[in-house]
Symmetry: C2
Subunit: 436 residues, 2 copies
């Protein structure tokens, strides 16, 4: 049965332009897909549909988080005094070890999902840990919540502490168990999985990063991705020390990206790479050629003193970019806040080199919605055929003067928080508050 | 009558170190001043005092905002697409003109004070507009709220639109009226005002910035500051175009700071200068010599693509630094968020030049409290003799694991907002929610 929502509708079809429909109507079909947006009910053949009127509220696409670490939940907002490599050793790895126990994992993972929900993130690409059972639990909790996720059991077998290393065989076996137990589609037809994502929660192949994975581990990850046509996520060119280390570890590779590429982990299936702060030259060319997506994580990049990624350059080159919170390198779950930081960081680049413009709010919004959403299927826009992932924003406390609809949205992005998000939808269904 | 508060007490006596007292006691005398902090009641001679037990909550000094524009309240979170000079012309000046009408000003100023209160800012150094009546209203509203403020009627008479320019005589007359009507101390004894600040709300001499003020206006401002021994606030070296313009307008000055100094507006009385992004060389030496305080406004500096101020350098040189929200160049009232941005921006400087360390959270906290507070008297610490300006933080929703007290504070700074601030004190009195 068709559903119709009435509200002020704002979204980005194209990267530098907001579509704005005052008191507009949006129709959703029984599969949870948008069938149209219009100024009047008649144009949507909506006369006998159920109409929900959100009044003076804003209806916008939901947020997509392209890079977040679920088992770093406890460390959110602490340990902000270190750069990447010592931060991993001293804070991240010790915490991740605890996820060997699902009893430790469950309350943390519930809170993690609850925070994604609070801040309006309906799809996320998530790193779990090496532990198969905790990862399965995390996937089940996403299913229970009704929220979309690509969840990665993490591949690690070198340069990591005891208790956070797994043999290649165990990794492959654990992954295959997860694939069998969590995907509804028969595995023989897995070739079409990435396009259809017919289930909301899907595994994603997740070598932690080159320094944590031997060649055998990387090769096995690439083979899994190819065999099951699963997407891939990892970290790329975040920090200069890390890049030098990768070059040492993989001396025959032409660059960090190439080190993934040699193992089938760089765009052979849909791939998202977090950070890309120092991506340039041949690495950038390879990303472009392979359509590798960038998960831009601006708060993480400054918290860990990594630098400012060249996002304008990526957009100009046509490299796809989405936004990531990277909790707990990032301290904030809100992808709205990531928009603000993305614009701000681009202004600091601009201040040093005025030859390329800083990001507009529309571009940041587009990265958070339509561009980032594309990693999850037809997600992130209100064009016909897109899955209805949406937020209803009641900004009455912020809307105290004669603001335009675009100013209301800008104020919400800059000043708002979870309090103004009054309804959340994922694939057409309203998502209730997940149980902590 | 002495009052005693029990809680987990955290504050910064020195710039790189937190004092932490688990389940400590803090005593406040009848004048609202701290008499001591101790691990037990007996050491405070507090056996017969009224004890308020805040349980598992955190008790910290309240926030001080060293630079904020009250009449830009409406523009908070919009118009983030311009640099300083066009932003002033297109957004700021048109809005400030409206404050000719106190009927327009009152609801905005009430909301402005309410937001300072929400985010725990108990003292602020505020720009109003050129309008005497609206400025008086703003001062009265601060008095009514019980919150401390230095409020500046803004001096402007060149390069500003019609309706935002005032003759030097009118400026002086308006200022003197404000001084007479708002200070309780007899004006003959004004020499001691800045030290005593016996009233919570005091005028501050406020030439907008060099480009807005003729030599006559600057001279008159300097004379007012000297005559009434009032503090001074303005803008300094925010943006490279602005600096070049100042050099053109005041060709005989050796630098932007010197242009103020020639008129007695650079440390002759207590002076705070916002931004100082590009302060260096002789200007920096002059600030140091004169003890001019920096109001560091990191969000504003990135929103307006101004750059990153050299805060580590200022601290090393012994130049006093506090934090400012600079609403609406800054989009956020929270001085806690300013701490986060101050640390983050210093990490970006560090990433480019690792010869000097980035700011620690303790240093940022110290700037927000004891260092910034010093502009308002003995404010910002819990040492004996300091006025009791404090916040009680109920972080139970953030405190879900085995966090230390310092981690709890760090998490509150990074993740919290107004919801966790459950009590606010200014000069010993609990401050109730101001009426909007």
């Amino acid at each position: 049965m068709k559903k119709i929502y009435k509200a002020h509708i704002l979204y980005t079809k194209e990267k530098n332009h907001f579509e704005v429909l005052e008191n507009g109507y949006l129709a959703v079909d029984a599969d949870g897909c948008v069938t149209g947006v219009a100024a009047d009910l008649a144009s949507l053949d909506g006369e006998d549909a159920e109409v929900t009127d959100f009044g003076n509220r804003l209806l916008i696409p939901a947020m997509n988080d392209l890079h977040v670490h679920a088992p770093q939940y406890r460390n959110q907002g602490i340990a902000m005094d270190l750069e990447l490599l010592p931060w991993l050793q001293n804070y991240t790895f010790p915490e991740e070890k605890k996820y060997a126990e699902t009893a430790y994992a469950e309350p943390m993972y519930r809170r993690f999902i609850h925070d994604l929900w609070r801040f309006g993130t309906m799809r996320s690409s998530v790193f779990a840990t090496i532990h198969t059972e905790s990862t399965r639990l995390l996937m089940n909790l996403f299913q229970e919540a009704g929220m979309g996720a690509l969840v990665g059991k993490v591949g690690m077998n070198r340069n990591c502490p005891e208790g956070l290393s797994e043999s290649v065989d165990d990794m492959v076996q654990g992954y295959e168990e997860l694939i069998h137990s969590t995907l509804n589609a028969p595995l023989g037809s897995a070739a079409s999985l990435c396009e259809k994502l017919s289930t909301l929660v899907t595994p994603i192949i997740t070598p932690r990063f080159i320094p944590s994975c031997t060649s055998e581990m990387l090769r096995a990850c690439g083979e899994l991705a190819a065999k099951y046509q699963l997407p891939v996520q990892s970290h790329l060119s975040e920090n200069k020390d890390e890049i030098a280390w990768v070059q040492e570890l993989e001396p025959e590779s032409r660059n960090y990206g190439d080190a993934y590429d040699r193992y089938g982990l760089f765009g052979q299936t849909p791939t998202v790479m977090a950070h890309c702060v120092w991506t340039d030259g041949e690495e950038l060319e390879l990303m472009k050629q392979r359509g590798v997506m960038v998960a831009h994580c601006p708060t993480s990049n400054i918290n860990l003193a990594s630098g400012i990624a060249p996002i304008r350059r990526f957009l100009t080159e046509g490299i796809p970019v989405g936004l990531g919170s990277d909790v707990s390198g990032g301290h904030d779950f809100s992808i709205f806040r990531m928009m603000v930081y993305a614009v701000q960081m681009s202004k600091l680049r601009y201040q040093r080199d005025k030859s390329s413009a800083f990001l507009s709010l529309a571009e940041a919004f587009w990265m958070a919605t339509k561009s980032g959403g594309s990693f999850f299927g037809r997600v992130g826009s209100f064009e016909p055929g897109y899955e209805f992932d949406a937020l209803v924003i009641d900004d009455s406390d912020l809307n105290h003067s004669d603001y335009s609809l675009l100013e209301r949205l800008e104020r919400y992005v800059y000043l708002g928080d979870d309090r103004q998000i009054v309804h959340r939808f994922c694939r057409g269904k309203e998502i209730a508050e997940p149980r902590i």
